[in-house]
Symmetry: C2
Subunit: 394 residues, 2 copies
């Protein structure tokens, strides 16, 4: 096989999950998904489609009905932009990750330089590597209170005319860091000068708790960029609509790229299943029944977990403004992969090791707080405390 | 965008389909799918899974239950191979095309030489190009009776130690050409000497009408190769189980590659939906209720269509032993893209132009004969006749 494929890291999260095999009572906070089933009315739309026999190939770019629904949704989040150009900029992908891979295939070829802001979801680094790119990372830095912050000048210095693509995920998995509007504007202005494409992974846009925006959502590059800027934004139904397992997402593209991405979809997955797209269409049409309550609940999860964690001796973390993760430093456990494996084996607590997201996050642990039952979060903190105090049997 | 992405051809089949927009009575034989809905018991398995709330992320390589079912299915088709090694060689993909793309990502990097036997499904040429490979094609040749045949010596001469990967689709879309067991053995022996990987697209394996094999299936590279040969075989639920729109397939891999392909799945689609995998598991478990009757019906379709076409003046075609296409030369219509567009506009007959599958197939047309209603095939031939005779309104 190709050396680059061999060198790609296996997910360290899966390594931890494997370490917990055979232990039944594990509290699993390691994966980035809620433990809540997709709402029934969304599942019912897929079932109705299956019953109606919609089991055939469909448009590469997605059902027109779904693309229109996404265009309307996009307009509702970015009302200051012209209303009539979104449809032609939407490509439906087989999951957010698939959209991001399509973006790398569209833009990146062997030898290109790609800059990624880290810590980040490991897929963002792996995808351009699969396309043969040289990836450079620009790490966020840690403030005294445990918040991860962007050194904007360092990022701008790292992006030069030799940089083909800049990949940024904000609100960020795992750190919860978000980009401000002025930072987005500065990055866009800089990339316009260097001719660098921006690939913005904004799948956590709606999971934002700062309360400082009119629509409740995190700042988006779509608010500052025009349709013809070198910008691709990746979205997903997974997080905001409780649809992780459905594998559906979308890209917002400059209109000049949409046709090319449609061709690439043909060569990657051809299309997403119609019955999955019907469910997603209903999810958008009735999104008000899902996302606001979900965000409110996630905020309650965050507000339950974070103070409890902050009170644990040796734990450092700042309150995240976005996403669905508490990302904390655990003093004395720089080998966080080992700590995560021991936590699952010895205390039945399933967390993701920070090192899965970049070397700068060694010593950190990621806790997905998307839990239906707030009590599970409290139980988890008790297990962490007990383990730290040498009472792993707790 | 990357020049190679820009240069990828848009599907000429879609160009023809677009030419037919607005005409309602088109008989559509252009896409490679049956007009039969997926059997109800398969759809019911997906519905039961959705009702049970299986809406979460799943294993990269596929549900163990499904991989076991595929392993058992593979063993039933290749009983002479050891029974206990299939499971570790199976990776579930989001469609056959996605499996083929994963194979290119696993094996091919920029500058590699890839040989493809053509005419072929255009995706087979595009995928290694997306990975930056230089693709050389080895065209089949046409016998006097209109059959497409392999010049084995020409193929072996084209594959040298500089050839990283050989891609073969047999039974072939669009020509119906199939590989014989001795040809497969000769190709494998040669590739063992040159160190070339073989990527065999065998999705039409079960749609085989020659009646010369014990299990009814077409010859497979899995019958002649060992588990550690440089061979990847791509399969799909689309054709043999009437599940085109579900986007599910699988790869059979050397065991040493399975782990790497699992990583690539994480970075491409992460996993296939559980409810889709449940449907596929039931499709395999109760495959005897689907595939044999389907193959029998497709044979009836072929035996209806081919003689009717052969009787049309100017048409040349041989009876295909495999697949679900009648691929015929139409005298005087070397610009088959134009002919296909005119046929749809003027006669309401939707066929795929041969040039979509390689320049050597200019002047040919592909007719997918997977039609529930045999009368539609007869109607289609009448429309072709009428159009050729200048009675397009027929």
């Amino acid at each position: 096989m190709r050396p680059v494929v061999e060198s790609l890291e296996e997910s360290r999260i899966r390594e931890v999950a494997n370490a917990g095999m055979g232990r039944k009572d594990v509290l699993r906070f390691w994966f980035g998904e809620s433990d809540e089933v997709t709402p029934e009315f969304i599942r019912d739309a897929a079932i109705a489609s299956l019953n109606a026999g919609e089991t055939f190939y469909a448009h590469n770019l997605g059902l027109p009905e779904l693309r229109h629904a996404i265009a309307g949704y996009t307009h509702s989040l970015h009302p200051q932009q012209p209303t009539d150009h979104w449809f032609d900029r939407i490509a439906v992908s087989s999951g957010g990750v698939n959209g991001l891979m399509l973006a790398s295939q569209t833009l990146v070829e062997a030898g290109d330089e790609v800059v990624v802001v880290t810590p980040a979801w490991p897929n963002l680094v792996a995808q351009p590597q699969i396309m043969g790119a040289r990836v450079r990372t620009v790490p966020l830095t840690v403030a005294a209170n445990g918040a991860w912050v962007l050194d904007l000048q360092a990022l701008l210095a790292a992006v030069t005319p030799a940089t083909r693509l800049l990949i940024v995920n904000a609100p960020n998995n795992p750190t919860g860091w978000t980009l401000s509007r002025p930072e987005q504007q500065a990055i866009l202005d800089h990339c316009r000068r260097t001719g660098t494409w921006i690939l913005a992974d904004e799948v956590y846009e709606r999971l934002y708790y700062a309360g400082d925006s009119a629509n409740g959502a995190a700042p988006s590059f779509l608010d500052v960029a025009g349709p013809d800027d070198r910008l691709i934004v990746a979205h997903s139904f997974s997080k905001s609509f409780l649809m992780t397992g459905w594998r559906l997402g979308w890209l917002v593209l400059p209109p000049a790229l949409t046709h090319a991405v449609g061709k690439l979809i043909e060569f990657n997955t051809s299309c997403a299943p119609v019955f999955v797209q019907r469910a997603a269409t209903v999810a958008l049409q009735r999104g008000d029944e899902v996302t606001p309550a979900l965000v409110k609940h996630l905020q309650a999860c965050r507000d339950t977990l974070v103070p409890l964690l902050q009170a644990v001796p040796g734990v450092t973390l700042a309150n995240p403004n976005g996403g669905m993760y508490a990302f904390f430093r655990l003093e004395g456990h720089d080998d966080c992969l080992d700590a995560a494996k021991r936590l699952v084996r010895e205390a039945g607590l399933g967390l993701a090791p920070g090192s899965a997201f970049g070397p700068e996050a060694a010593g950190w642990l990621r806790w997905c707080f998307a839990s239906r039952d707030l009590h599970r979060l409290e139980q988890g903190v008790e297990r962490l405390r007990g383990w730290l105090e040498g009472r792993p049997g707790l």
